[in-house]
């Protein structure tokens, strides 16, 4: 093995029943580099990583690791850790009710005895050396998500790891937190750790990575130095097509012009819920696409949840088409023609074990009532219609939704709400964690629906996306509405300055 190569995967194959997830993939990681692993959902990134960490066993191929003679066998995540391959997942897998030190050392001690004083001081040393703002004795759940993420990394690094895999570590962090994380990553790079970085954020790739490996449909597309691969090329490699599709929606939306005397589809006044937001006013017109923007945790989601009745509503009024309505729970909102695609797809959206078909009909079925189930035949008809309409990639309508890729799961949830034929559709982060192709599909769909007269509120943490789709943006900061932008004001710098606050 060459000197500076720490990990080499050669000709990896892996099949699942009916799917060839990896077909002869090669991957090379060098010492002291941050290597982005890019690809759409279903490209095989997760599978490759799970093979590397011993979660899945490979069907074919070799894994070579610096310091080991010949191919090594990894049968379990413990094996992987032993040889120095550590992974930090998107969802934090630590124990929130234990202290930071306990989390750092859990499962790594031999024997029963434990010198906690030493453990605590060691932990503090590590935290300090990595500049992580936490103390050893602090309970983990009192740390912010970003710090928890960093502690997970510190734990991984402290296990003498040569290879650190970061699987979507930034998706629940805000910008400052991401920046802190990057500082940590750069620090580790300088210490010679090879880092595999899986993310959907292009910006982040270009900010921190040295090299990119692109995968598509279970195959290797290629490995590139970052300077040789401009963004546009990267996207086209990932999609396997040229970028004309993107350019369709690149132009900014015109400011929405209200027709004289038009009554808003929905008008909220002083709406507030128990989720900790300040009362806010909001309205949306027929055929309008608007959005809530702001940093993570600014209360974007909480606002739309308050409109939909997803959290406990504590005040304020809602008028639909000028008529006051009472919306205290989801069913009230649904009956008034409101649909809500939640931010947390896994936790609030999909019903994992149920089939794609059942997931699609669920909301409409609830609206129809307990005693009026759709016939099986009708269910299949509906499911097939929406699978086709949204080009959902699924083996059949009976496939459990949890076995679909993230983007396709999101499309199923979208289908569920479209099937209720809502007057007003709320999409909360519909594009988070899904592949670029599906993102574009969803954006196009939103514009199409609006042109057909549906009102849509669109929330995304990617500002580009918002600017491309929305004609009006409600800006939030610290859990309250701080501005509303439309027309000429709708540009990146204006939004940023509004988010940051006028006095800066």
């Amino acid at each position: 093995m060459k000197d500076n190569i720490v990990l080499q995967m050669k000709n990896i194959h892996k099949s699942f029943p009916g799917v060839r997830a990896l077909q002869g993939v090669d991957f090379t990681l060098r010492k002291g580099e941050i290597h982005a692993l890019m690809g759409e959902n279903g490209a095989g990134k997760s599978t490759l990583i799970k093979v590397l960490t011993g979660v899945y066993s490979k069907d074919e191929g070799d894994i070579l690791l610096d310091g080991h003679q010949g191919p090594i066998a990894i049968h379990s995540p413990q094996d992987a850790q032993k040889v120095g391959i550590s992974t930090v997942y998107q969802e934090i897998t630590l124990c929130p009710n234990l202290s930071v030190a306990e989390n750092m050392f859990i499962g790594r001690t031999s024997g029963m005895g434990q010198n906690w004083k030493k453990v605590n001081s060691d932990t503090d040393k590590i935290l300090k050396s990595l500049d992580i703002p936490a103390t050893a004795t602090q309970q983990l759940e009192t740390c912010s998500l970003a710090v928890q993420q960093m502690i997970a990394i510190a734990r991984a690094v402290d296990m003498d790891c040569k290879v650190l895999i970061l699987d979507e570590p930034t998706s629940s962090l805000d910008e400052q937190e991401v920046e802190k994380l990057f500082t940590l990553m750069r620090d580790l790079r300088s210490r010679g750790v090879g880092i595999v970085f899986v993310t959907h954020f292009l910006d982040q790739v270009y900010e921190v990575c040295d090299r990119i490996t692109v995968m598509r449909d279970g195959q290797l597309v290629g490995e590139y130095e970052i300077k040789d691969l401009p963004r546009v090329k990267l996207v086209s490699k990932m999609l396997g097509k040229e970028l004309d599709d993107m350019s369709d929606i690149k132009g900014e939306q015109k400011a929405y012009e209200r027709k004289a005397g038009a009554v808003p589809v929905l008008e909220a006044q002083g709406r507030v819920s128990d989720a900790g937001i300040k009362p806010f006013d909001f309205h949306i017109d027929k055929g309008e696409v608007n959005g809530f923007t702001g940093l993570l945790g600014s209360g974007r989601s909480e606002c739309v949840r308050a409109i939909f009745g997803a959290d406990r509503v504590t005040g304020g009024t809602i008028k639909m088409n000028g008529k006051p309505v009472k919306i205290n729970k989801a069913l009230d909102a649904m009956k008034n023609g409101i649909a809500y695609l939640p931010e947390d797809r896994k936790g609030d959206g999909i019903v994992g074990d149920l089939s794609v078909r059942e997931n699609i009909i669920l909301a409409q079925q609830v609206l129809r009532g307990f005693f009026k189930p759709f016939s099986k035949a009708k269910q299949y008809e509906i499911a097939d219609e929406y699978i086709k309409l949204l080009s959902i990639k699924t083996a059949s309508a009976d496939t459990p939704i949890k076995s679909l890729s993230g983007g396709n799961q999101q499309k199923v949830i979208l289908a569920r709400w479209l099937f209720t034929h809502p007057e007003y559709l709320i999409l909360d982060e519909p594009t988070r964690g899904i592949d670029v192709g599906t993102k574009v599909d969803i954006q196009k769909l939103v514009l199409k629906l609006a042109s057909e007269g549906m009102s849509v509120t669109f929330i995304s943490s990617e500002l580009d996306e918002m600017l491309r789709t929305c004609s009006r943006l409600v800006v939030m900061r610290d859990r309250k509405v701080v501005g509303e932008l439309s027309g000429d004001d709708l540009n990146q710098s204006k939004v940023m300055s509004t988010i940051a606050g006028g006095d800066k």
Binding site: P17, G18, F308, A310, K329, A330, L331, M334, Y340, P342, D344, G347, D348, G349, I350, V351, G352, D353, L354, E358, L362, A363, Q365, V366, L367, G369, F370, F371, K372, P373, A395, S396, R416
Partner: protein
């Protein structure tokens, strides 16, 4: 579409069989049947004879299984729903059966522990016991749904107190009913040689399947069991649905109470339907349903109930003493848990794949 079909037919038949939810109970049934046949080839003989009242009745091991397994099957219906919706089990059904039976007797006796005549028609008394059992079910449901108590812990209350409540309902008396009408439900209806409990179970099963077909009970229950948050955001009320599942179990309990009381025309508060909750839970598990809730297969649970009874009856046949039965059932539980564990499933997958490769070669 066509592509999918091709894919399906290409899938290994063995693999598909293993994945079917009916596979485990069927396998258990087959093992038991073979075991019985080896020990005694005439074991499945069914004879038609007359009982002491001069009515034709069928008898034999299989009839006994159908007879006694029916109570379990009825409880398995409710237990399946509770398991699916709440992700836990109701361990108070035995005690609740005691309550339902006690109410039934109290109504029939009208306070006199040895009545010459029934104080009211059996159907009226039964309906009252249904209402009471459903109220107790609702009590459990409220604890689980609104107070977010683990189902096993919540139902522990009634499990502990139920039999005392049952005794209190009848002032600690042990009423004995002599009216032959009551004996039909747990025995035979004159002229019909098949045990009545089997008919009652089949009626319950039929009603359940009609309910599942013509209402959204199945979809709602599973949705709530799988993802409560998501269900709420789709307009469901998870609390109500959990309570409904417990109330339905209460109804099942009342039906079983009727059968149990009918069998002995009396009641013994401390032993009636003792440990039946364990068998009912086992039936749900044997039917391949996850005890952590979510998706369920009603037919598999009901089938599982009869398989459990077959096991019990087989153990009796081999003179295993009743207090050792739980140990044997524990073995079944262990096997079930092991074969449904992910690692073993993966191993199964590998084995079938090897099998397939060999076939191709």
């Amino acid at each position: 579409m066509q592509k999918n079909e091709v894919k399906k037919s290409n899938e290994n038949i063995l693999m598909r069989m293993v994945r079917n939810q009916m596979f485990i109970p069927l396998l258990a049934l087959a093992v038991l049947a073979i075991f019985n046949l080896i020990a005694d080839p005439s074991v499945f003989k069914i004879t038609l004879s007359e009982n002491s009242a001069g009515n034709p009745v069928l008898s034999g091991l299989l009839i006994t299984v159908l007879d006694n397994g029916s109570e379990l099957a009825i409880l398995a219906i409710g237990m399946t729903l509770v398991t699916a919706a709440s992700g836990g089990q109701d361990i108070s059904v035995g005690a609740a059966v005691a309550i339902a039976g006690s109410v039934l007797l109290r109504m029939l006796c009208g306070g006199n522990s040895r009545p010459e005549e029934l104080a009211m028609p059996i159907i009226v008394a039964f309906l009252i016991s249904c209402v009471v059992a459903m109220l107790f079910g609702a009590f459990n449901g409220v604890l689980v749904a609104y107070f977010k108590i683990q189902p096993m812990i919540a139902t522990l209350i009634l499990y502990t107190a139920g039999r005392s409540i049952a005794a209190w309902i009848n002032n600690n008396e042990l009423p004995v009913i002599t009216d032959p009408g009551l004996s039909y439900f747990g025995g035979f209806i004159p002229g019909i040689p098949i045990p009545t409990p089997f008919f009652i179970a089949m009626i319950c099963v039929l009603i359940m399947f009609l309910v599942l077909k013509f209402t959204n009970l199945g979809l709602y229950t599973q949705a709530v069991g799988i993802n409560e948050n998501s269900s709420r955001l789709n307009g469901l009320n998870p609390q109500i649905i959990k309570i409904i599942s417990f109330v339905i179990l209460g109804l099942c309990v009342a039906v079983v109470g009727l059968i149990k009381v009918s069998r002995v025309q009396s009641i013994n508060y401390s032993v009636i339907a003792k440990d039946i909750e364990m068998d009912a839970i086992l039936a749900v598990a044997l039917g391949g349903n996850a005890l952590s809730g979510g998706k369920f297969n009603m037919a598999a649970s009901i089938f599982g109930a009869y398989v459990i009874q077959f096991l019990t009856q087989t153990l009796y046949k081999f003179k295993v003493s009743a207090d050792a039965l739980p140990a044997y059932k524990a073995v079944v539980v262990i096997i079930l848990v092991v074969i449904s564990a992910p690692t073993v499933k993966e191993w199964f997958g590998k084995m079938t794949k090897k099998f397939k490769v060999k076939e191709v070669a």
